[in-house]
Amino acid sequence: MRMKVEVRLKPGHFDPEGDVTAKSLRDLGFPVSTVKVGKVYILEVEVSDRKEALKLAEDMCKKLLANPVKDDYSIEVLSP
């Protein structure tokens, strides 16, 4: 099963990378007020049950992909 995990900073958390990117885009003339930077992981998970796959991905976020102190995450099944 192909899945997408997106990890980004929790709302309200200071995002220096996003701020610098926004500034640079504004320098180029784009009307950008804010940018939030995150990471996307595309995973091939070797299970066929959707529910089980979601649970696995959730576990992966808790154990490695996100640090609960600063990160939020979302999980999506892309294709079976």
Binding site: P16, L64, L65, N67, P68, V69, K70
Partner: protein, 264 residues
């Protein structure tokens, strides 16, 4: 001084680059030091060592988050041994990337190991890699890592990191760190006054100017500045003039040796 009855283990993995300086610093003080790669660490009995150091570097390319991959790998391979090591009151020091590892592995700031980290070392607020000399103040000199210093003493030690902004999961965790006197070093102005987040004295935007903390029992310590880069006088910015014999980083290693000599 006869410190050569003490053994230290400096761990390394792909991307570690401060292992050798750390070893040189420890050996200069007479501690027998071995550098061991993560791939062969399982053959070692950790309990043969008095000190484990997680040195600085960019382990696993800082992928995912700095220290995350190594931190989890440490848990997967060494958890039981490490828990025993900590419980016995043996010493663990994490420098820079090593601090990030201890945070991600949940070894700091608690006692023992917790699956979920409660602190983070986030991207510097400057959004840059910060490589500079900073001043840190000793907040607690009653730990194995700070005995050779005075409380309130200001040390000059360099940092070099992109992810060093110390964050706690909640205000409560920060208060607990203060209450338990787990905050060992805070970034300050050169005269020792609070930096209050002022850049570049607080180089990364750390909460409460925190540069280094220890566990509740005090035998595990993590810090962002690099004491091994301020060990000899010739490593200091005034190296070409008349540098002192030793830099301030020496005091951290000396504290460790003094502690081992008096309690082991």
């Amino acid at each position: 001084m006869n410190a050569n009855r003490f053994k230290a283990l400096v761990l390394r993995t792909g991307g570690t680059n401060c292992d050798l300086e750390t070893k040189v610093a420890l050996e200069e003080l007479g501690v027998k030091t071995e550098i061991v790669h993560m791939n062969s660490v399982e053959k070692k009995n950790l309990l043969e060592y008095h000190l484990i150091v997680f040195p600085g570097g960019f382990s696993y390319g800082d992928y995912v988050r700095a220290g995350a991959v190594w931190g989890k790998r440490v848990l997967a391979k060494l958890r039981t041994q490490l828990e025993k090591f900590i419980e016995e009151g043996r010493l663990i020091l994490g420098i820079c990337n090593g601090f990030q590892v201890l945070a991600e592995a949940g070894v700091l700031p608690g006692n023992g190991v917790s699956e979920t980290p409660s602190i983070a070392l986030a991207n510097n607020s400057s959004a840059k890699y910060e490589c500079r000399w900073v001043w840190i103040r000793v907040e607690n000199n009653e730990t194995p890592f700070t005995t050779a210093m005075r409380k309130g003493e200001v040390l000059r030690i360099p940092v070099g990191h992109a992810e060093g902004r110390f964050l706690t999961g909640s205000e409560e965790i920060l208060n607990e760190l203060k209450r338990n006197e787990q905050i060992l070093f805070r970034y300050v102005l050169p005269n020792g006054d609070d930096a209050n987040g002022l850049y570049p004295y607080n180089p990364n935007g750390s909460t409460y100017d925190i540069a280094g903390i220890c566990s509740k029992k005090g035998n595990v310590m993590g810090m962002m500045p690099h004491p091994e880069r301020a060990f000899f006088g010739w490593q200091l910015p005034e190296w070409s003039g008349r540098p002192p014999e030793r830099g301030d980083g020496w005091k951290i290693f000396k504290s460790i040796v003094d502690y081992l000599e008096s309690y082991r």
